[in-house]
Symmetry: C2
Subunit: 341 residues, 2 copies
DNA sequence: TTGTAAGCGTTATCAC
DNA sequence: GTGATAACGCTTACAA
């Protein structure tokens, strides 16, 4: 294994000089630099993680983590838990993480939070991107300061960021279509239901992938109401119940996004013993129960743990080792059924 | 963060003494030990990974990896690739890995390999367990020498080992049953096919889980021929073809283990356009194609990458940090369909 | 029984 | 521009 010491010896310089070259720091004679670079290449130098880890401790890295928080954000809670675990893990390496929980969406409140983040002078930021100008300008300010940001859960490209970690919603919808085909024998009718309608960022992607895959691969499988989703919320499931009752040929129901898990009970009741497959996304504790009871046939997960831990890990790797992550890390789209849990 | 130095200072002893206590090495005054131990507890000492990694390099750890190798072991090839990647990764930490590829099963050949492994004086062994006395006595000899072993892929308990990494075959069969139910609407007939029959170690577990789940959860779903598998091999698919042709009510076919992927084509031909769901295990390149073509409806993976990498990682963690792994690490049983790849 | 010191590889801070 | 040195936290061989 080649070390900086080896390079220094062969180049006839000190470790410090080699380090300067490696980290593109100024103050090295071009000739020396060329010689050192050649040796780095020739000897196949690879930095040693353990050594770097030990050394970066002294920098006392500080990260910020921004996420929604509240009873309506079940999925984000899983992400937060994973992030907290990762933060605890990183403590050992001299990294501290400050969590900023967003509980409202009004502008002055958000401005205040962004201000607080900025004042904490983080070395890196992991954030769930918001579609507001205040968020955008905040990220841009930090970017100007050279502070890297990693986005998670929502793939927004309006602000500069190092990487995105999360779901490929279009692909996710395509898998849902395949799953629907599996459950229905690739023919018949499938209904669409959703808690957050077309204005939700994830809805569009999933619906696009779903209908695209349906027309491309399963022409005998058609959507009830031409794909118009039955919307539900706050205990009001009438649209969904109507859809189930008025379409006796409907063999599957695709719930694009869940809000109130009570909808499954209502669907089951409205189906009156007929064989209706229910396909959902994610695997909140409530959904695990519904899967067990057979009220959900299958669900597609999007690895909240990865979405919570990887942004922090990526920032650490970037700051500590200079590792540039791939711009998009899509989580796996695993299918869970009753027996999987 | 609490370090050994901190403990030493507060205890009024040297780092060496604290280290002796931490690693249960002899030669420490019981009183001193008690005082140090109390402080370790009280101050919440956690060893620092980076520091340990750096220090263990000097031990130049050496591991051995034993696995089947040959054209008939497609799945094991994926494991081997993952193990090689992990070995390359561990090189940086001063770890070398020797691979021992088992190409035959006759006793003298095996004895020779085991002898070679022993002569290489490994600090740890990762092995696919064989049901032979020579393997058993080999593992026992190494165990007596204090060399830890991690098994993978087959969960055999006849020889002492630190941990098992691999599939829970019974659970795997249960997931297959649930998947069959999903594809058939939980009723009708399902056929069983297999390349390696009842004498294969994985077959028993999967079939047990499958039939158990079927009777417990899906009473309207019955097995063709009472669960007698149609066996196939070396291009001879007559049993399977007969099963498909003679049972027009059969709505699904569960292939418990694959040998020749050509069987899917034959099944498709024999089905003559009728809707027959085919459920398999694993995801070899050939299977990916079949999934894409619709000749396989769904497959259950058992994470060969984890089975290859984790045994080596566990041995390193055990030898470097003293981390005792949980005795059984079951791989995730993820379901893949056409759209998943 | 305990302490000391060197070393694992990298980085930062001086001094020159 | 460059070199020396002291960390970062841990282990180990050797000295006391």
């Amino acid at each position: 294994m080649v070390t900086i010491k080896d390079i220094a010896k062969r180049a006839g310089v000190s470790r410090g000089t080699v380090d300067r070259v490696l980290n593109n720091r100024p103050g090295v004679n071009p000739e020396t630099e060329a010689r050192v670079r050649a040796l780095i290449e020739e000897m196949g130098y690879r930095p040693n993680m353990a050594g770097q880890m030990l050394a970066v401790k002294k920098r006392r890295l500080h990260l910020a983590f921004l996420i929604f928080h509240g009873p309506e954000f079940v999925f984000h809670l899983d992400i937060l838990h994973a992030a907290r675990d990762k933060a605890a893990e990183l403590r050992e390496f001299g990294v501290t993480v400050d969590f900023f929980l967003i509980r409202q969406l009004d502008t002055p409140y958000l401005e205040q939070i962004f201000h607080d983040v900025e004042e904490s002078h983080p070395d890196g930021i992991a954030a769930l991107p918001l579609r507001t100008t205040s968020f955008m300008s905040f990220i841009q300010r930090m970017h100007a300061k050279g502070v890297p940001t990693v986005f998670f859960n929502l793939d927004e490209d309006f602000a500069p960021h190092l990487a995105y970690v999360g779901c490929d919603y279009v692909h996710s919808g395509r898998v849902a279509a395949g799953l629907t085909a599996l459950c229905t024998g690739s023919q018949g009718q499938v209904g669409i239901a959703a808690a957050d309608g077309p204005n939700s960022p994830s809805f569009a992607g999933r619906m696009g992938g779903f209908s695209q895959e349906l027309t491309a691969t399963y022409p005998s499988l058609t959507m009830v109401d031409g794909g118009m989703p039955a919307l539900f919320r706050d205990g009001d499931f009438t649209e969904v119940v109507n859809m189930v009752e008025h379409n006796p040929d409907m063999k599957a129901l695709y719930i694009v996004n869940m809000g109130d898990y009570g909808v499954c009970q209502e669907i089951h009741r409205a189906a009156r013993g007929r064989n209706l497959s229910v396909i959902t996304h994610d695997l909140a504790p409530a959904q695990q129960e519904l899967l067990k009871n057979g009220l959900i046939s299958a669900t597609i997960v999007q690895q909240p743990d990865i979405q919570g831990s990887m942004p922090l890990q990526m920032l650490y790797d970037y700051l500590a080792f200079g590792t540039v992550p791939k711009p998009k890390l899509f989580t796996d789209l695993h299918i869970y059924i009753r027996q999987s849990v």
